[in-house]
């Protein structure tokens, strides 16, 4: 448990101070937090999920189940970070988790004593004595004890980015196979991306002591990387993990831009989530060594054999003072020998097989390492102090503080399965290999079971060439590097890997608690319980025991669990199958996936053309979809929004007011068949509309319900301008395009969305005409020349092209004046100047809403997609002489039902009472129950014109009930009042004002 005197890819000249659980330590640049902790002799790093057992570092990779720590502090505190992938930096702060008060002394480890009662299925059974015992007693207890790390509960202060990349060949994993694949594809001329989660590219070449050609593996990797870096079309992406395979050759990747720093540098993100579109992919993710399940296998000091070697070779760290290795295949034996060469004291290699490779056996003997045929059946110590070994000749105890374990190699094949491919069992290699690969993917090296270095290099090169060729880039195969496998008896030579060198060995049959899933505390006994209780299918076993549901998603646990269940059921491993591999292959920060879409930047803002002007007037703005609209314009001395809105309404009705109506959708329709199209999409007729006039129209969905409404004007024989509601602008355009592209391609109509191209200012009130007259360039705007519902083209303010529609949502004499969007502010300022003598008043959406309710105009609250034209009182607009979209289905019995609630007006019986939309209508005296629900209030406001509250709503048989009183029942706001039903038009029902 110390730093070896030499070796490792660390910068021994740089000492980095860091703290863990408040104690100070030092490591080197190039360390991970895990290697630095081991170098400092810290072996106990956390507690397990359920029993709070002490746990140590197990792996040297992203699949670490135990060494999960809380990184950083304050708002940057980040739970569940793997110490094994966290790069060390100066002043790093980390803490162990799931322990109280410390990992060495954890009060919650009382759970451990109760462990025999807390096995699989415990949660489901204690049904429960007193009724509600679960909710009151167990549930809060379990909930309190659950979870691993603590989130900060503060807003994440760091920024994230999303980015896109495209390539011919994406190589996933920069180990031996990946490097060779990238080089081959790059030399062939393909655009290549080589991505690997590690800071250093090289994979196992960095953590083993192979010699390739005449160079150590690390130097060989460096040579390839230098060549790749010099290729202009090759992009190296270190610290970038491909986390998911998606449809169409799309891959998700996470780049850790700043996790190796105390905080991101200015103007850089902490992490970047990539979407990579690749024509071809080479999967070269390698293999992980898998644990063996044996009693006491979770004691700190027990770790992966490959990790033991990796810490020695790559980090120059001896994970313990004296180690043993427990193996079931030759590569683990070789790894143990390499660790010994690197300076780790290996006392013994305990191998379950009758014989290891004779060359390896000879090397072990030469190195003074005992080779024992046997099984580890127990461990001792708070952290490991001894192992008990069962050999053919008896039981033996070895005093070691570290045990490297490897039962075999498991391909890291999740990405191969994200699109539904199932792994297939390879009996010769005693492991699952990728099945059918996603379209466009090749796989090479250890991930397809080619565990030997020479075969992995060759396989990678072949896969890279094939991928490049498939993408259209051919090249002759370069010569392969020479690997002297025959000479591996000499030190520093890798063993060839053969199928026969492995045996399927999953667990040791011996008494004592043996863990299958260390993080979730799933034991061998839990597998037996699941079997006994009928949870034998792999998915059921997983769900019942939680095996494989930990943060490593079963990478270190699933296969052994499946094998143990297979033994119990008597089924083969292929018959038992695996659980489903799903993205992400490694956990990904939610912030990275969201990128910059948070806070004010969650969605874009659409300002109206007069936004700046309205802001200068002191407007309060309101979100309307993505738009920001002026809600009202407070003036000094006004006590609240109501007072401002009342003033705006009164000023408009008495004089003249002005509102920006640019958000309404505007669609320019041109062509000889526009009239025919409009007749088919509106319930009423537009083909007969004279040039220079506009008409209100209602359009339905094909299912007979109202889609949208608006006013459409005819500017020329073959040119109409349609207005849609703000909310439905895009939807209506899409609908019209559907009609033209799909339903009636024979119609000659061209569409253009011009919502953003035009600013549209509405002026309303008795003086509107006088104001308008001052901005037009001599155009006659008299009632005769521009009557109600007139629609003309004109110029304003000395030559600005404009369209003028005489209509008003407020129910007054009104005009909507449209000018090119960049002239919107000029126009509104000119109108304000022109109206100064009339006291022209800008108003916002609130006053607009009040005036349209007073007038009885329906809006989004009524056009809610659940209402028919008849419900809205607009049924009679429908032309009987033509078909239109929705006509046939609007005649269905339930839509034509006279019992449907229909539009009414309401006013409170008590004139001082307040009305709120969302209240339901009940007959007076009827019980408050769904069966008596007669409708609801859709819109409500205080009417300054009338001096009391008014509302619109839908009421059963509403048209026949004017004058009747009903209850407006609003219990969520504590209101229950009587209202009188009336016609849905509170002012000027004959429309005299707007025609004035």
């Amino acid at each position: 448990m110390s730093r070896l005197p030499s070796g490792g890819l660390i910068d021994r000249t740089q000492s980095l101070a860091f703290s863990f659980d408040g104690r100070s330590y030092a490591g080197h640049s190039g360390d991970t937090l895990a290697s630095a902790l081991l170098a400092n002799g810290v072996r106990l790093v956390g507690r397990s999920f359920k029993y709070h057992r002490p746990r140590g570092i197990v792996t040297a990779g992203a699949h670490e189940p135990n060494a999960l720590v809380e990184m950083r502090t304050g708002a940057r505190r980040e739970p569940n970070t793997r110490a094994t992938t966290q790069e060390l930096y100066a002043s790093l702060e980390a803490a162990s988790q799931n322990r109280w008060p410390s990992p060495a002394f954890d009060l919650m480890s009382a759970n451990r004593g109760a462990g025999r009662f807390l096995g699989a299925g415990f949660y489901y059974k204690p049904s429960m004595g007193p009724a509600g015992g679960w909710e009151r007693l167990y549930e809060p207890l379990i909930r309190h004890a659950a979870g691993l790390g603590r989130a900060s509960a503060l807003h994440d202060p760091d920024a994230y980015e999303t980015a896109f990349a495209h390539c011919d060949v994406l190589v996933i994993g920069a180990g031996p196979a990946g490097l060779m694949a990238a080089r081959a594809a790059g030399r062939a001329g393909a655009r290549v991306i080589l991505a690997d989660g590690d800071l250093r590219l090289g994979g196992s070449l960095l953590s083993r002591r192979a010699v390739i050609g005449d160079a150590p593996a690390g130097a060989f990797a460096a040579g390839i990387l230098a060549e790749l870096a010099a290729m202009p079309d090759v992009r190296l992406m270190p610290r970038t993990t491909i986390f998911g395979a998606y449809d169409g050759g799309t891959y998700g990747a996470l780049e850790r831009v700043a996790d190796h720093l105390p905080a991101p540098l200015p103007f850089t993100p902490r992490q970047r989530a990539w979407t990579i579109n690749a024509r071809r992919t080479v999967l070269a993710t390698g293999a992980l060594d898998r644990p063996i399940v044996f009693p006491g296998n979770d004691r700190p000091g027990v770790m992966s054999a490959v990790a033991l070697t990796a810490y020695a070779v790559r980090y120059g760290v001896a994970a313990g003072a004296t180690a043993a290795v427990f193996s079931a295949h030759d590569d683990a034996v070789a790894a143990a020998l390499e660790a010994a060469e690197a300076g780790v004291r290996i006392a013994a290699i305990v191998d379950v097989r009758a014989a290891v490779h004779p060359v390896l056996a000879g090397r072990a003997k030469a190195a003074g390492i005992r080779l024992i045929q046997g099984e580890v059946i127990g461990t001792r110590g708070k952290t490991l102090s001894a192992i008990t070994v069962r050999t053919p000749s008896g039981i033996e105890t070895l005093a070691v503080d570290t045990l490297g374990v490897s039962g075999g190699l498991t391909p890291d094949l999740g990405l191969a399965c994200h699109l539904g491919g199932r792994p297939v069992y390879d009996a010769a290699r005693a492991t699952f290999l990728p099945g059918p690969l996603p379209p466009g993917m090749n796989a090479a090296g250890a991930v397809v079971g080619r565990f030997g270095l020479a075969e992995s290099l060759a396989d990678g090169q072949a896969a890279g060439l094939a991928a490049a060729a498939d993408a259209g880039f051919s090249a002759p195969p370069p010569a392969l590097p020479r690997i002297d496998e025959a000479g591996f008896a000499a030190p520093s030579r890798s063993a060839p890997h053969s199928a026969e060198s492995a045996t399927a060995f999953w667990h040791v049959a011996a008494k004592g608690t043996a863990f299958v899933d260390q993080q979730n505390d799933v034991t061998a006994k839990d597998i037996a319980i699941a079997h006994a209780e009928g949870f034998r299918a792999v998915e059921l076993m997983k769900r019942y025991t939680t095996l494989g549901m930990a943060t490593d998603q079963g990478k270190t646990s699933s296969l052994a669990g499946l094998a143990m269940m297979a033994e119990l059921t008597g089924l083969s491993l292929p018959e038992t199958g695996t659980t489903t591999f799903r993205p992400p292959a490694v956990p990904v920060a939610i912030g990275a996936l969201a990128g910059h879409h948070r806070g004010a930047d969650f969605r874009p803002v659409r300002p109206t053309p007069t936004h700046g002007w309205a802001k200068a007037q002191g407007a309060v703005f309101v979100e309307t979809g993505l738009w920001l609209r002026a809600q009202y314009f407070p003036r000094p001395g006004e006590s609240g929004w109501r007072q401002s809105v009342d003033r705006e309404v009164n000023a408009t009705r008495a004089g003249v007011g002005l509102v920006d109506a640019s958000t309404f959708g505007k669609i320019d329709l041109q062509g000889p068949d526009v009239g025919t199209l409009l007749d088919r999409v509106y319930i009423n007729t537009f083909s007969t509309l004279p040039v220079g006039k506009a008409r209100y129209g209602v359009m339905l969905r094909e299912d007979g319900f109202v889609l949208d409404d608006g006013t459409t004007g005819r500017l020329a024989d073959a040119r109409y301008i349609m207005t849609t509601t703000t909310a439905n602008a895009a939807k209506v355009y899409q609908h019209l395009a559907f009609c033209l592209d799909v339903l009636w391609p024979e119609l000659d109509v061209t569409l253009a969305s011009v919502t953003e191209q035009w600013a549209q200012i509405s002026i309303s009130g008795p003086h509107a005409r006088a104001v308008l007259a001052q901005v037009v360039d001599g155009q006659d705007v008299s009632d005769a020349a521009l009557p109600f519902m007139g629609a003309i083209e004109a110029t304003v303010l000395g030559g600005i092209g404009a369209r003028i529609f005489r209509l008003s949502f407020a129910g007054e004499l009104g005009y909507e004046i449209a000018v090119p969007a960049d002239a919107g502010t000029v126009l509104v300022e000119a109108l304000m100047a022109a109206g100064r003598d009339f006291g022209i008043t800008p108003y916002g959406t609130e006053a607009l809403g009040v005036m349209r309710i007073e007038k009885g105009h329906v809006s989004g609250n009524e056009l809610n997609g659940q209402t028919t034209a008849a419900d809205l009182g607009l049924g009679r607009m429908a032309s009987k002489r033509k078909d239109h979209i929705g006509r046939v289905m609007s005649e269905r019995p339930a839509l034509a039902d006279p019992d449907r609630p229909m539009l009414v007006g309401v006013k409170p019986v008590d004139p001082a009472a307040v009305l709120r939309a969302g209240a339901h209508f009940l007959k007076i005296g009827a019980p408050a129950a769904t069966a008596h629900d007669e409708g609801y209030l859709t819109s409500a406001c205080h009417s300054p014109t009338l001096g009391h509250a008014i509302g619109l709503g839908f009421l059963k048989h509403g048209a026949k009930r004017h004058g009747e009183r009903v209850r407006a029942f609003d219990p969520v706001r504590g209101a229950d009042i009587e209202v009188e039903v009336c016609a849905p038009a509170f002012i000027d029902p004959q429309g005299e004002r707007q025609r004035g």
Binding site: Y246, G248, P439, E702, D741, P745
Partner: protein, 88 residues
């Protein structure tokens, strides 16, 4: 998922809006069985597990409606054509 728009080229599916089954045809509204025919047109679907002919609208591109053939089991896009030219 990538969709080969016949006008814009291969584009990310994010640029498109999905509508659904492109095999149904708007019935003759004047036919005597129009009510039943419209019910089938609007509501009833084969919903196949396999190749599916479907309408996508390229709202962030050429603003044309396409008929895309896509396998609903694998999401493999088998082809795309303008709606008007797909024999629709």
């Amino acid at each position: 998922m990538l969709i080969p728009c016949p006008y814009c080229g291969v584009r990310d599916a994010r640029e498109f809006t999905y509508l659904g089954d492109a095999t149904v045809r708007r019935p003759d509204p004047a036919a005597p069985d129009a009510a039943e025919a419209f019910h089938a047109y609007v509501n009833l679907r084969d919903n196949p597990a396999g190749p599916h002919s479907e309408h996508w609208y390229h709202g962030a591109g050429c603003r044309r409606w396409l008929v895309v053939t896509r396998d609903t089991r694998t999401h493999a896009v088998l082809g795309a054509a303008f709606a008007g030219e797909a024999g629709a």
